[in-house]
């Protein structure tokens, strides 16, 4: 077992011993289920209206548009609120309990610590997202829809989540207080969200496009609509790399204080 694997194993163990994963997981799954139920309900109401207008004919409703697109779009705000809770302990707790000094004096490199911690929380997130596949699976039994935009929607959720987790990891490295870490990452995520609004103020100018590009909104929306664009993949990949790099710098710099 390599040092990175050892860190991943230890972090996973830490998550499952503490109540965090159970609470966050329960809330995440409950909200996902509730939103699915609501959107399916709305879609049903619309179908009934359509049938009344067409007087008896079977209405074709598009679950992809009415349920899944809305569902994935709504999950953005859920992730903004929930993921900082998952990441807040990663470095803050080590610093509070003075195990940080132990990690830093172990013969491992800082990037191994950062990657180990990121991978552990990302695996937990993947597990939670994986459980939600139950919703489209169940819906498949009763209706017919296109799985492709659902898979891209899931890809979007995984990429967006990875980005959020790296922002949370960064915030956790800044402080030894977990609450502060959660609020800082919450604030950062909302700010990056609102940058999209700032971009739209500038309209369809170069400045507007550049500013909007910084926000995750348009990149996520395209994936939810079923579009796979390399520029969006590049956005998530480089955003993740940047946040992990910044985390590395912060962890490194705590040695100098």
């Amino acid at each position: 077992m390599t040092p990175v694997q050892a860190i991943i194993a230890k972090e996973l163990r830490g998550y499952f011993v503490s109540p965090i994963v159970y609470v966050v997981g329960a809330v995440f799954l409950f909200i996902f289920g509730l939103l699915s139920y609501l959107y399916v309900g709305f879609a049903g109401a619309q179908a009934i209206q359509l049938m009344q207008m067409q007087q008896g004919g079977m209405a074709q409703i598009n679950l992809n548009d009415l349920v899944f697109r809305n569902l994935f779009a709504s999950m953005r705000i859920v992730l903004v609120i929930i993921l900082p809770i998952l990441t807040m302990r990663l470095f803050a707790e080590e610093r509070k309990l003075r195990t940080f000094e132990f990690l830093m004096t172990s013969p491992i490199r800082i990037h191994e610590i950062v990657i180990g911690k990121f991978v552990s929380v990302f695996l937990i997130y993947l597990g939670l997202v994986g459980l939600t596949v139950l919703v489209p699976t169940v819906l498949m039994l009763f209706s017919d829809f296109d799985w492709n935009p659902i898979w891209t929607g899931y890809a979007g959720m995984v990429l967006l989540g990875a980005l959020f987790l790296s922002v949370g990891l960064f915030a956790s490295a800044l402080t030894e207080n977990q609450i502060v870490a959660a609020f800082v990452s919450f604030g950062l995520l909302l700010t990056i969200w609102l940058i999209a609004g700032l971009g739209s103020l500038f309209g369809d100018t170069t400045a507007g496009r550049v500013i909007s590009y910084v926000s995750y909104m348009e990149h996520y929306e395209r994936l939810v609509r079923g579009l796979i664009d390399t520029s969006d993949l590049l956005y998530f990949g480089s955003g993740l790399a940047l946040m992990l790099f910044l985390t590395h710098r912060i962890v490194e710099s705590t040695r100098w204080k």
Binding site: A6, V17, T105, P107, W256, K257
Partner: protein, 328 residues
């Protein structure tokens, strides 16, 4: 094994340690002694590559702490001030994690685990969560962590804090048994500990090394007089005068209990037989007679107090002088 040369660490304007130089030979146990906030932990953190020094060089087993931190870290077992334990892991899980971080795997890991658990008598708590263990056990788990990979250099920051007297003795015995094959630096402010386990003592105060020697020589060097304590059954009024009259006795201080005195004698003279003769001939009823040697505690207090005196602001002295002049 450890070479520290002119290390300085500044935090902004505050100088935590100031041109500290010392070395530790292979197999030697060195005590780092000093009041709280003297710079012991800072020095240890520099040696373990947790933080870099502002100036100066530190080398461990031939590797430079600034340039080859990974190599240095491999050579060191480190116990920080607070035992670095994860409460959510059991003792065995924690030590396994530590071993894996150090790249020990497979059968080697399990034998290292058994050895360090055995050494620190942690067998009975092997499968218990560290969060549920007492302070003393956590300290021992921290020590087991430092010893796990059998490092040539051990750096222990107050290793006996939080242990009960029996455990303290056991840990001291353990550290003594490590001498010879391991180089050990331990910090402490418990002075008998330094005398008990270390061959050499470095006293540090306000970031500077104020003394470095064996415990015995340190006390010898700072002793300005021989001290003898006597206790008498009967002491007439003239006994203090008679004691003072013994040639070689510099001063006599009456003790707290009636009939006990502390005699200051000339350096290098043992006046016990002379004092005994006077006491017996005068029929004072000699109950006790012993030399008082200077303990490391006295040395320590003397040195650290001395430093305080040195750091007295010169302006105060100058203003006193000018005040006297104006009065005249």
């Amino acid at each position: 094994m450890i070479d520290v040369h002119n290390i300085t660490k500044r935090y902004g304007h505050h100088t935590a340690i100031d041109r500290v130089t010392f070395s530790v030979a292979k197999g030697e146990v060195l005590a780092f002694l000093g009041p709280n906030g003297a710079g012991k932990t800072t020095t240890m953190r520099i040696l373990t590559c947790f933080m870099p020094a502002t100036e100066g060089t530190a080398r461990v087993a031939g590797f430079d702490c600034a340039d080859q931190p990974l190599e240095v870290k491999r050579q060191i077992g480190y116990l920080p001030e607070t035992p670095p334990v994860y409460q959510e892991l059991t003792v065995a899980e924690y030590l396994t994690f530590v071993g894996r971080l150090r790249g020990i795997t497979g059968p080697k890991l399990s034998s290292a685990l058994d050895q360090s658990i055995g050494r620190l008598e942690l067998g009975s708590v092997r499968h218990r969560l560290i969060g549920n263990l007492s302070r003393g056990y956590r300290q021992r788990v921290g020590l087991a962590q430092a010893l796990l990979h059998d490092p040539p250099v051990l750096i222990l920051d107050e290793p006996t804090v939080g242990l009960d007297p029996k455990q303290i003795i056991e840990i001291r015995e353990l550290i003594k048994s490590l001498a010879g094959s391991h180089s050990v630096i331990l910090s402490t402010h418990i002075l008998p500990e330094a005398t008990a386990v270390c061959q050499r003592v470095v006293i540090i105060n306000q970031g500077r090394i104020v003394a470095e020697d064996t415990p015995e020589q340190l006390s010898a060097r700072l002793r300005q007089s021989e001290k003898v304590s006597i206790t008498l059954k009967a002491c007439p009024a003239d006994c203090e005068m008679k004691l003072r009259a013994i040639p070689g006795v510099l001063n006599v201080f009456p003790g707290q209990a009636g009939g006990s005195f502390l005699l200051e004698c000339e350096l290098g003279r043992d006046l016990r037989d002379e004092i005994a003769r006077v006491a017996v001939l005068s029929l004072w009823g000699l109950l006790e007679l012993r030399t008082v040697s200077m303990t490391l505690e006295d040395v320590f207090l003397q040195l650290t107090r001395h430093e305080d005196h040195l750091f007295e602001p010169p302006e105060a002295a100058v203003s006193m002088v000018t005040a006297e002049k104006t009065e005249a």
